[in-house]
């Protein structure tokens, strides 16, 4: 009964979305306030019904109602509650329902907090948002219904894929989807501006905080997914340039570009048309990502052709929304009033450079991900595009960007002074150069790129902090004065410093992990030892442990450093009888920002056990950097001037304050 209830709620949500997509749009064209005002309540009601449907499916999962096909295929009565819940979005149908839930949540937020938007803009935005909802709710109901029943319910479910039964993956999809789907807001605003044929001031005020918010979620989601892959897959890789990862990286790159161009639009009233195009591209990439992951096209063009219902449906949605929005852009963009122009050497100019490189990097990932598919579809020829390709093409695009990063915030708006900024960055550059020399001396040869990359990372971090140091007068005035000044700095200044420093920290982690990690592969019998760097690991033996729905075969290692006991590591093989499969549970020991990483391989007939031991140098910096970036984004978001609905005088004051 619950499942039917949810199904019915989803159908009602579809009806509401249809209403919301059409009536307010007509109202906006006819300038009818009543019709336009109907958008808000419709958006709220639509969210309530989608939430009801989602809650119904959740109840089915919690109760382990195996008469529902989706629950039967992805759950098990013995599974811990948290994985019963995460099992809901660990599969195609459930994750699409989550997608639509988040979509309607954002629509409802616009309806609730959009009081300061012009009625016409609000109505159009909500109508566009609802038209996306119509497409995806139809997709769920027609091709991927999670509420289907099984005529003769089985006693037990098939369980969730064991590698998904992990805390990291329980929260990864919701975070990522908040980011993916959040881009729909920027998209709806862009389309509304194109339909209206003008960009009102409220437009920029809304788009920047929203794109910042979903950038935050995207960053967190990607970092979480990367850490999950690192400790789950058993060989310590953290980024594979897998198409599924690329599908999330592309919107991230586009959203980062959008964030920066929206800044120019807000402060200088320039780059309006470009920002609109970026908003369309960013959400289009989210849709393409959804298509890539959900259609099965990645496995092979042929696998897609054998069961094309879902793929074709999503492809139709893609063509409709991406094609439609780009066509609308081509038609209407020339009519939009171009904003102010600016000097090439200025903060705006730096942000344009940032956009140029980010968009090129995004295009590289796009071409690399889709090229094999396109080539196979057109000529039948199969090629592979993997990590070596992306490393070779992506890095050269990012290096100039990283060199330019510290310049941006130090340049003045309107007309900057590159030489002056370069002088102010001498300290950061000196730190970078000294690092290059020190690392070069320490490495004693080896690839010259390594010291250079480490120097670049420290230069980015130092350069990011330079603005704070300068503006607080640290090192020049008493610490108390500097502290007081630091408190007075706008939060967005802190935000930029944190976000850019985070980028440098991540880079440092990437270099450390790829260049200074050590690896040991060995077959050990109980009583034997293995050593790496200054650590000795003694294999004490194995034992079994029984979990709620799995059994662990754990190996016990005691870890000593210079003969002193510092802890134990217990990697395990976890087998799930319900699916007859097993996963590797790696053991991690954190030492500063580096980690010892131990995973088990196959046992041999002679009683020995294959183990893989790594010393992962600086590896935690990769994700700490992402966390610092997120903190920066959150600080910037909390800046009073950017807060949605902040009173206008605060803004005009900011607009008049010179160069910050």
């Amino acid at each position: 009964m619950i499942a039917e209830f949810g199904h019915y709620a989803l159908v009602l949500a579809l009806a509401l979305a249809l209403f919301e997509a059409s009536v307010p749009m007509v109202g906006a064209r006819k300038n009818d306030p009543v019709l336009m005002a109907s958008a808000g309540p419709a958006a709220l009601a639509q969210f309530c019904f989608v939430a009801t449907a989602f809650a119904a499916l959740t109840i089915c999962y919690v109760r382990s109602d195996f008469s529902v096909l989706n629950v039967f295929e992805n759950s098990h009565s013995a599974k811990p509650l948290v994985y019963k819940l995460s099992g809901l979005w660990g599969n195609h149908e459930g994750s699409m329902l989550l997608w639509v839930l988040i979509l309607s949540l954002f629509g409802a937020l616009v309806a609730l907090f959009g009081g300061n938007l012009p009625a016409r803009l609000k109505a159009t935005v909500l109508a566009v948002q609802a038209s996306i909802a119509v497409a995806f709710i139809l997709f769920i109901l027609i091709t991927s219904n999670p509420f289907l029943r099984i005529p003769e319910p089985p006693f037990e479910g098939r369980d969730l894929n064991p590698i998904l039964q992990d805390p990291g993956l329980a929260i990864h999809p919701p975070l990522l989807y908040l980011g993916y789907v959040g881009l729909s807001i920027a998209f709806s605003f862009a389309i509304a501006a194109l339909i209206d044929g003008r960009i009102v001031a409220a437009w920029a005020r809304w788009v920047r905080p929203w794109s910042l918010l979903d950038w935050l979620f995207l960053t967190l989601g990607i970092a979480m997914g990367s850490y999950w892959a690192y400790y789950t897959l058993g060989w310590g890789g953290w980024w594979f340039w897998d198409p599924v990862e690329n599908a999330s990286l592309m919107p991230w790159l586009a959203a980062t570009a959008l964030l920066h161009s929206a800044l120019v639009m807000e402060k200088r009233d320039a780059l309006k048309v470009w920002t609109i195009l970026l908003a369309i591209v960013a959400f289009s990439l989210s849709l393409i990502g959804t298509f890539l992951v959900r259609s099965g096209v990645l496995t092979s063009v042929h696998a897609f052709a054998t069961d094309p219902t879902r793929g074709v449906f999503i492809l139709a949605i893609l063509v409709l929304f991406i094609g439609g929005s780009l066509a609308l852009f081509a038609l209407r963009a020339p009519m939009l009033k171009q904003g102010g122009l600016f000097a090439p050497v200025s903060r705006e100019g730096a942000l344009v450079l940032n956009n140029l490189f980010l968009v090129s990097a995004c295009a590289t990932v796009f071409i690399g991900t889709l090229y094999p598919l396109a080539l196979e579809a057109l000529t039948g020829e199969k090629i592979s595009v993997g990590a070596p390709f992306f490393n070779a093409t992506f890095a050269p695009l990012f290096v100039p960007l990283l060199i330019a990063v510290p310049f941006g915030p130090l340049l003045a708006w309107k007309r900057g002074d590159v030489l002056g900024v370069a002088q102010r960055l001498v300290g950061a550059a000196a730190i970078g150069v000294i690092t290059v020399a020190v690392v070069f001396a320490m490495e004693g040869g080896g690839p010259i790129l390594v010291p250079f990359a480490v120097g670049l990372a420290l230069y980015v971090i130092a350069g990011a902090l330079m603005e704070i140091v300068e503006r607080t007068g640290l090192l020049k005035v008493p610490v108390a004065t500097a502290f007081a000044r630091a408190r007075g700095l706008p939060r967005s200044t802190w935000g930029a410093a944190f976000a850019h420093a985070g980028l440098g920290i991540t880079l440092l982690g990437v270099i450390g992990e790829t260049q200074w990690s050590l690896e040991r592969i060995a077959e050990l019998k109980p009583g034997q030892s293995i050593s790496i760097r200054r650590y000795d690991l003694h294999f004490d033996g194995v034992s079994t442990r029984q979990g709620p729905n799995y059994r662990d075969l754990a190996a016990h290692f005691t870890v000593r450093r210079h003969g002193e006991l510092i802890g134990v590591m217990e990697p395990a093989k976890r087998s799930f009888p319900s699916r007859g499969t097993a996963v590797t549970q790696t053991a991690l020991m954190t030492r500063g920002v580096s980690q010892l990483y131990l995973s088990l391989g196959d046992p041999n007939p002679d009683g020995s056990l294959a183990v893989r031991l790594y010393y992962k140098a600086l590896v935690l910096l990769i994700w700490l950097g992402a966390v610092v970036m997120v903190i920066g984004g959150a600080l910037s978001l909390s800046d009073r001037r950017l807060r949605v609905g902040a009173p206008r005088p605060a803004r005009s004051k900011a607009a008049l304050s010179p160069a910050e």
């Binding site: 090439p344 090129s360 000529t379 033996g541 194995v542 046992p603 008049l656």
Partner: protein
Amino acid sequence: MRSLCLIIVLLTVAAVPCAIAVEPDEVLSDAALEARARALSKELRCMVCQNQSIDDSEAPLARDLRILVRERLQAGDSDRQVIDFLVARYGEFVLLRPRFSWHTAVLWLGPAAMLLIGGCAVLVLVRRYRTNSAAAANGQQELTAAEAARLSDILRDGER
């Protein structure tokens, strides 16, 4: 007793697929040769997996390829010869970094082309700015006294 326990445990997990890529018995004793083998492995695709190099993959095919690469290296092949041998046997699909040729030209040149096109567009905009600002400078006039007073009013409002 401990070894008995181990044997029992090993028997129960024997059916479980392994989750380790390069296995201890594959490792060559010659460290330089092994390093070359590992570097090559990262460039080669495990053809039955989804986007995994044979260095990362646990599939039996990947293991066979890893051993094959090591055999060729031990026989004295250069890295280039090993790659050529594998491409002759399995086709271009085995390479994770496709070779540059007419059908991968778009792939390899795309990023550079993108940067170039974008750069040109920015240059055009800058030029347009220069002409516009020059035109504006020519047509610029001094503010009238009333305009100047109004401007200082606005500025004072903003500072308050």
